[in-house]
C-alpha cells in the first residue's frame, strides 16, 4: 500500500479527525499530531492581547515547500506511514487551530513524535506564510528569523 501524504493550504476549518483518517492505513497503529492555534493572550516576552491574526501565503511556493517538508520527513524516518501537513490562511481568531502536522506509523516508537516536531519546525523555517497580528493597540507583522539557503 502506498503511504498517503496530505498537503493542504486552506481557508477552511481544520478537521483533525478526518485528516487523521486520511493518513491511517491498515498497518497504522500510532499517530503524533501537532497543532498550533491563535493565542488570545500572550504572557511571555512582549505580553499582549490578540484580536485576530491575518495569514497570507505565497501559495504555489508554500505548497511546494510543504511537500518538501513531507519528503524530508520520509527521508529521515522511513518508518513513517502517513503524513498530513495543513496550514490554514485568512483571518483566524483566538482558539482556532491554524496548522496541523500529523505523522502515523505502525508503533509509537517509530519516530512519530520526532517527525511531527521536525515538521512544524521546518514549516516555520521554509514555508512562505506570514501572519499579521491585530490587537487592541494596533497591528503588527510577525517576522520570523530563519534565512533558508539557496535551493533549500
Amino acid at each position: 500500500m502506498d503511504f498517503p501524504t496530505i498537503i493542504s493550504l486552506t481557508e477552511s476549518e481544520l478537521d483533525l479527525g478526518a485528516l487523521l483518517a486520511q493518513i491511517t492505513i491498515p498497518t497504522t497503529g500510532a499517530a503524533a499530531i501537532f497543532t498550533g492555534m491563535v493565542r488570545g493572550k500572550t504572557s511571555s516576552n512582549h505580553p499582549r492581547e490578540t484580536n485576530f491574526l491575518d495569514y497570507e501565503a505565497y501559495q504555489p511556493m508554500a505548497e511546494k515547500k510543504m511537500h518538501q517538508v513531507a519528503e524530508e520527513i520520509r527521508e529521515k524516518w522511513p518508518t513513517i506511514e502517513g503524513i498530513a501537513i495543513v496550514q490554514r490562511i485568512g483571518r483566524l481568531y483566538p482558539g482556532t487551530p491554524t496548522t496541523m502536522i500529523a505523522c502515523t506509523s505502525a508503533h509509537r516508537n517509530n519516530g512519530v513524535f520526532e517527525a511531527a516536531r521536525y515538521g512544524i519546525d521546518r514549516l516555520k523555517e521554509i514555508v512562505p506564510v506570514w501572519k499579521k497580528e491585530i490587537g487592541p493597540d494596533g497591528e503588527e507583522w510577525i517576522v520570523g528569523h530563519y534565512h533558508p539557503r539557496p535551493g533549500e
Partner: protein, 82 residues
C-alpha cells in the same frame, strides 16, 4: 532586456504598496542588483533590504544568482507561518 515579474509579501508588500510588478531588467542582473534597483524605486525597502529573502521561480535564491528570462521573483521577510 528581460521581462520579469516581482511579487512582494507581508511587510514588503506594505512598503511597495503593490502585490506584484512587471519589470524589464538587463540580461545578467542578479538578485542583489535587482534589490538595489528596487530600493531606489521604493526607498522604504531600504530598512528591510538586509533581512529580505528572495525566491526565483518558487525556489530560494542566492544574492548573486542571475535572473532568467520570464522569471517569477518573490521578495519577502523571514516566514512566520504555523
Amino acid at each position: 532586456m528581460l521581462k520579469v515579474k516581482v511579487m512582494f509579501f507581508a511587510t514588503l508588500r506594505d512598503y511597495v504598496g503593490s502585490k506584484a510588478i512587471e519589470m524589464e531588467i538587463s540580461s545578467g542582473t542578479t538578485i542583489q542588483a535587482l534589490t538595489d534597483l528596487l530600493v531606489v524605486k521604493y526607498p522604504r525597502l531600504e530598512k528591510v533590504k538586509d533581512s529580505m529573502i528572495a525566491a526565483i521561480n518558487r525556489e530560494y535564491a542566492a544574492d548573486d544568482q542571475i535572473i532568467p528570462e520570464d522569471a517569477e521573483i518573490a521578495l519577502f521577510p523571514p516566514v512566520s507561518g504555523g
